[in-house]
Symmetry: C2
Subunit: 406 residues, 2 copies
């Protein structure tokens, strides 16, 4: 079970949804353009450029078409950075020279590039008009543009566009989720081969630590060509010198990042030699919660409805569903639902853009938390579709670990 | 050769240099506090909190001590986020409730948390005074704080503090650099075992592709407990369907991230069955460039001096040292020097905080670029010290790949 290389979004002639969303927003607002500045790699920059940019400050300047000029997209990068970004004209700043001339901190080099690109296009030395910017534009860049005479208006266009995945993006997500499943299967196989000794798990005569298991998963992910992305976690509730306990829940979470930047997400809970009725009931409740969530997933539904139904279903197995009844001796039902893509936590999300749209890919985690007994959680990715919800990659649920690698 | 787990910075009682730098800056500016808001993980947040925070918006509010109150540091996180950050009081926002009350986008939840923390401490309902902020504070957070009555003043305190590593930070860097060396050794072993067939490299009867080699390195890194961090690259100048060429330079770069967030950096160039005098001369020039850079490294020296001396030394082997002579038929000498730590590219850097201080860890890359013949590069990490420069981890240089894993 080894993942194959994922398709590269942006390498084909598919429509570039990110740029189109920006051009539309600029048109709708009657703005002169859109400016994005980021200090280092961020998902919005990656979404628009389709490349994993440098760990340095860069700017994007996106200008709509006019009667005389086609739409334009410019990528401003520091000197020495080379990228094969398509759809953008790339310009390079000479930080050192700008600084010597202006006596300003290096960020000004980026600001000056942006101003030069705008002035070049807009054909005026006195700049004016409205610029759309993300709400997280660095404050110094905002002040610099305002001092140049532009009015800034924040737009959620990019994060909103990211909430709905294209077919090519879903292929990327499917490929990295398949690699996530391989990584999870590796850890399940190790756990299936483990034995309890004095209440702790042992494999091949060696104590099985969370770190050892995490490295085995990450090794599998790396061999599949995806990045563990610091998102692999092995959690137990009674942690003695990192040694994993027998008979108690162990939570396995993988959310690797594929070469295209998109993330998978799978979460399972297993217990080796569990004798507990509580664990089994909580596990079945979490499974039922996932199924209940899946039944609610369709375009137009609010994500909080999905989350609420999942919690209610878990609660129907005898667990508390509201914070008021946290004192329940059986534990509290939990569910979280949010979008996953270039970020592990993005729109749609409760409290933000919360309506599900066809094409969205969402993570659903359900479970039970009991401070005395432990925590059970299950999580997976679903695709929102007019044809009904689809589990992105099927991966079985089982409280007892199973070797699925054979 | 397997890396051992790195020491965790922040897990001991060592002085917390990041917070102290902020408190000092606040005192010096006569400010009421320091506010940092980031949309997702960023090195400054990690530096101050010493934990890898969530892929969500968070805020740090750092307040100096007064006559009646000790210094305070507050970490504002979204609901559902749990972290074991030490030295900070953690407060949780309820995005949904804030939004329902205010009808504002969710970011306001963070802003309101920050305002509440400030009002609580400063004991006024009408807020005023100066707040220090990083220059990259998200614009909406800046506007929100200004509307609340605070004056904002940007401070480089955190990025400046990061430029000088503590002994514990250097231990983290040394550990991840050792893992980087293991990863590089793995790729060298594979290349040493490869054979040229029709001008392309073959291992075990299979074509050796850049992707195959990259995965082998990343597997080794993951097994050592460090993250490849999308920084592993295998580059050749004549790329035919990703198959690596025989007799030509292949550049191997690893910059993994350890569990503490610090990065290693090693770059080597190898050629299998190279017959070229040019490659050998350029390789020796790059080696000499590294040595020349090392000789210049000491506290008080400007980083551009180190870079300039390295370029001059490479150039002394017959390569062009200025852009004007790019037309040289032998290629152009190059060198880059900058700090490495929680980011792969940080201060000290040319055009920014450029003076070397004792404790800094810097990456030096030297090489020769010739559009016709190829590119040779070598890179490693040095520690700046009063006792003379130290190579963080020694790793041999050899144009012919050598199996060093035995």
């Amino acid at each position: 079970m080894t993942g194959s290389p994922e398709p590269a979004v942006g390498s084909t002639d598919q429509p570039h949804s990110g740029l189109e969303a920006v051009w539309t927003a600029v048109d709708d607002a009657g703005a002169v353009g859109f400016v994005h500045v980021s200090e280092r790699g961020d998902p919005n920059r990656r979404y628009l450029t389709r490349v994993d940019g440098p760990d340095r400050e860069t700017a994007l300047v996106i200008l709509p078409g006019t009667k005389n000029q086609p739409p334009q997209a410019v990528y401003c990068v520091p000197r020495g950075v080379v990228s094969d970004v398509t759809g953008f004209k790339q310009v390079t700043s000479d930080t050192e020279i700008s600084r010597q001339i202006e006596g300003r901190p290096p960020t000004t080099a980026t600001g000056q590039q942006v101003r030069a690109v705008l002035a070049d296009r807009l054909g005026t030395t006195v700049s004016d008009g409205t610029l759309l910017v993300p709400r997280t534009l660095p404050h110094d860049a905002a002040v610099f543009l305002q001092e140049a005479g532009y009015e800034l208006q924040s737009t959620p266009a990019v994060t909103t566009a990211r909430a709905t995945k294209t077919s090519a993006e879903r292929d990327c997500l499917r490929a990295v989720q398949a690699a996530a499943a391989d990584g999870l299967a590796r850890s399940e196989a190790v756990l299936a081969a483990s034995e309890p000794v004095d209440g702790r798990l042992v494999v091949d005569g060696q104590p099985l630590t969370a770190e050892r298991l995490r490295r085995q998963i990450n090794t599998e992910l790396a061999a599949s060509g995806v990045a563990p992305a610091d998102n692999t976690s092995i959690e137990a509730d009674t942690d003695v010198a990192d040694r994993l306990p027998a008979g108690e829940p162990i939570r396995l979470t993988v959310s690797p990042r594929g070469p295209h930047g998109y993330h998978g997400h799978l979460k399972r809970t297993v217990a080796v030699d569990s004798e507990g009725g509580w664990e089994r009931r909580a596990f079945i409740a979490a499974e039922a919660g996932l199924q209940a969530a899946q039944r609610e997933i369709e375009p137009g539904v609010d994500i909080s409805t999905v989350q609420g139904e999942a919690v209610a279903e878990v609660g129907a197995y005898g667990f508390a569903v509201t914070p008021d009844t946290d004192q329940s001796t059986q534990g509290r039902a939990t569910a979280t639902v949010h979008g996953v893509g270039l970020s592990t936590h993005e729109q749609p999300a409760v409290g933000a853009e919360s309506q599900l749209r066809a094409g969205a890919v969402i993570a659903v985690d359900t479970g039970v938390v009991d401070p005395a007994r432990g925590t059970i959680r299950l999580g997976t990715l679903f695709v929102v579709s007019e044809e009904g919800p689809e589990t992105l990659i099927e991966y079985p649920t089982s409280l007892t670990p199973v070797d699925r690698t054979e």
